[in-house]
Symmetry: C2
Subunit: 345 residues, 2 copies
DNA sequence: TTGTAGGCGTTATCAA
DNA sequence: TTGATAACGCCTACAA
C-alpha cells in the first residue's frame, strides 16, 4: 500500500489536517518547526498524493482530453507532441483518442473523456457538422461545464474557442505564386468537399485567380481525399486539361503527383509546376524539394494550450470564446518554375 | 451537477445499493421488474457513472500510461495509434507522454502516471539503462504493483515483459541482400552506440559479412544519431572509403544520404546502393523508392495490448514476464542494384 | 496553531 | 431481494 496522509499524520503525531495543510502550502501559517517535521516524514515515508482522491474532492483531474482524427498523420502527431509538452509544463496530462476521422468517434471520445472528468478538451473535428450536431456538441460542453477548444478545423459556431489557420490565405499564397511564375492553367487537387479546409483553401485559389484577372475554370478542379493516391489518380486528368501547374491542397497528394509524374517521365518543375500545403518534414527531401504552404504548428499548439490554461485558471470565461487565426507562409523550394511554352509532345 | 446514483435511487424510491447492483449487472439477481425501473430512471436522468469515484473504490482506473521517446516520429505515432485503438476496444484510455529520448523523462512520466493510478504502463525506454536504473525501474513497478511492458526497445532484464523486433536479423537481412548483389565494401551508418537497437542491428551486419566470408572493416562504420543530418554528414566519409553500398540503420538517415547524393550528382543505385531500416511511409515515394527492413508495427502494437490485457484481467501473472520477438522483413524497392565496377571518376 | 468531522460518488460488506 | 453503513484518500469548514 502506498503511504497516505493518515500514515504521515500518525508518524508525526499530528492530525491529517495539519499534514494536508503543510503539503498543500496552505496559508494557515503552520510554524516552520511542525512544517519541517511533516515534510521530512512525508519524504521519509515516500508519500505521494493519490490523484484520484484529490480529484474526488477538488473536482479537478489535471487531465486534458485530446481528440484527433489520426495521430499517425505527421501534422497531427507534431501537434499532439507540442500540446502534450506544453500541458506537461503546467502539470497536466493528456488523454488522447484517434477518431479516424469519423463523427461518431468524435462524440464517443468526447463523452468518454467527460466521463473521466477531464478538465478540458482539445479537438480537431473529423468533418463539418450539421446544425444539429453542433448544437449537440455545444450542449454536451455546457452541461458538463467542460471547455472545448477546436484546433485546425472549427465549426460554424462562434461559441467554441478555436485556433485556426487562415486557410484561404494559404490557398491564395500558393496560387498567386504560380500565377506570378506565369502559369495560366493551374489545376487544383482539393480535399473532401465536406471539409471546411478544402473549401477555404479553394476559395483562396479562386480569389487569387480573380485578383489576377484570370478566369476560374471548374474543369481544372479535381476532388481528392488528402491521401497520396488522390494525387496519383488526379494527374492523368490534369494533364488532359493541359494544366502547366498544380496546386495540391496538401503535401501527401502532391507526393502522389510526384510519383505519377515519374511514371509519365515528366519532370518537375520543367513539365509541371507544383505547390503543396502543410510543409511536412519530408518535403525538403523530395526531388525536387516541394514548395508548399507552411503552417506554424508549434505556435498553434502553444497558443491553444496557453489559451486553455487561462480558462482553466479561471482568468477567463470560456464563454467569451474567441478565435485565433494564424497566418500560413509560402515556402519556396524547387517544385515550381516559370512557365515556358510547352514543347510539342 | 451530473446525476448520481443517489439521484437515481431517490427517483425510484430504492437504495443506492440496489441501483448500483442493477447498473453493474451484479449477480445478486435483482428481479426484472425493479431492474427495469432502475434502468429506465437511469436513462431518463441521463445517469453517467463518475469514473473517479469508481476508481476510488475499485482501485482500477482503466487507464494506461504510454511513454514514448517522440510521438512525432512516424514509427512511434503509428505504434501509438495502434495501441490506443486496441485499448479502446477494451474500454481503456491512454495517457501519453513524450520523453524526447531522455532518461529523466522516462522516470518522470512513469512516476507521474503511477501517481495517477494507471493500471499499466507501456513504454519504449529512451536509452540503455545502467544496472542501477534498471533496478530502480523495477522497484517502482513492484512497489506500485503496476505492470510495465517494454515495446521496441527493452532493458537487459528478464523481469520486464517485452515485445521486440529481432533487430539482429534485420541487420543481417539488409546486409546479406547487399552482399548478394555483389557488394564488397558496404558501409554502415549506425544509431547512437548507447542504444541496443544500434548494437543489435550492427551485429546482424557483422554476422552477414562473416557468413559470406567477408572481413569486417571498422573504417566502414559511421556513428549517426538516427536523424536525417547524420546521413548527410556521413556520405562524404563513406565515399572516401570507396564503399559501393550503404546500410543505414534507419530510413531517416537514408533520406539524408539521398539528399547528399544529389548534391554530389551521384545516382542511386547506380553509384551507390542503399538499404534502410523501418519502412516509413515515405520510402516508396522517394526517387528511387527506398529498399528497407520493415517492422510489423501493427502486429507489435496489437500483441503488446493483448498481452497486457491478459495480465490486467488477471489471467496471467506479470511476473512470468516473457519476451515476444517479431521478425522483420526485407522490402526490396529500387535503391540497391548489382555491384558494377565503378567507372573512373 | 491544530484537530474534528463531514463529504466527494461509488462499491462492498453484511445484515435484514 | 434489498438496505444501512463503512470505506476508498483527501480536503476543508469550523471548532477548539
Amino acid at each position: 500500500m502506498r503511504t497516505t496522509v493518515k500514515d504521515v499524520a500518525k508518524a508525526v503525531g499530528l492530525s491529517t489536517t495539519t499534514v494536508s495543510l503543510v503539503l498543500n502550502n496552505k496559508p494557515n501559517r503552520i510554524p516552520k518547526a511542525t512544517r519541517e517535521i511533516v515534510l521530512k516524514a512525508a519524504k521519509d515515508l515516500n508519500y505521494r498524493p493519490n490523484h484520484i482522491a484529490v480529484s474526488m474532492v477538488t473536482k479537478k483531474t489535471h487531465t486534458i482530453g485530446l481528440i484527433l482524427p489520426d495521430i499517425s498523420n505527421l501534422y497531427f502527431s507534431e501537434l499532439a507532441k507540442v500540446i502534450e509538452e506544453q500541458f506537461h509544463k503546467y502539470g497536466y496530462n493528456v488523454l488522447y483518442g484517434n477518431t479516424n476521422g469519423t463523427l461518431e468517434h468524435d462524440f464517443e471520445y468526447l463523452n468518454l473523456f467527460i466521463d473521466r472528468s477531464v478538465d478540458a478538451v482539445i479537438m480537431t473535428v473529423s468533418s463539418n457538422y450539421s446544425e444539429k450536431e453542433i448544437k449537440s456538441l455545444h450542449e454536451i460542453a455546457e452541461m458538463n461545464n467542460v471547455p472545448i477548444m477546436m484546433v485546425d478545423r472549427t465549426l460554424d459556431d462562434p461559441r467554441f474557442m478555436s485556433v485556426l489557420l487562415d486557410q484561404k490565405l494559404g490557398g491564395y499564397l500558393a496560387t498567386n505564386y504560380l500565377i506570378h511564375l506565369g502559369h495560366r492553367k493551374i489545376a487544383c487537387i482539393t480535399g473532401p468537399k465536406s471539409l471546411r479546409i478544402s473549401i477555404e483553401r479553394l476559395e483562396g485559389y479562386k480569389s487569387a485567380l480573380q485578383d489576377a484577372g484570370l478566369p476560374f475554370d471548374p474543369a481544372l478542379i479535381v476532388e481528392g481525399d488528402f491521401r497520396v493516391d488522390s494525387g496519383v489518380q488526379a494527374l492523368p486528368y490534369i494533364l488532359g486539361q493541359n494544366a502547366t501547374a498544380v496546386f495540391s491542397l496538401n503535401d501527401m497528394m502532391a507526393i502522389g503527383v510526384y510519383r505519377e509524374c515519374r511514371r509519365y517521365h515528366l519532370s518537375i518543375p520543367q513539365d509541371l509546376s507544383i505547390v503543396g500545403f502543410d510543409d511536412i518534414f519530408i518535403d525538403e527531401f523530395l526531388e525536387p524539394p516541394l514548395s508548399t504552404i507552411a503552417q506554424p504548428v508549434v505556435e498553434i499548439g502553444e497558443y491553444a494550450v496557453k489559451k486553455m490554461m487561462t480558462v482553466l485558471e479561471g482568468e477567463e470565461d470560456p464563454s467569451c470564446a474567441d478565435t485565433m487565426v494564424f497566418k500560413p507562409a509560402l515556402k519556396v523550394r524547387g517544385s515550381a518554375s516559370k512557365f515556358m511554352e510547352k514543347k510539342q509532345m
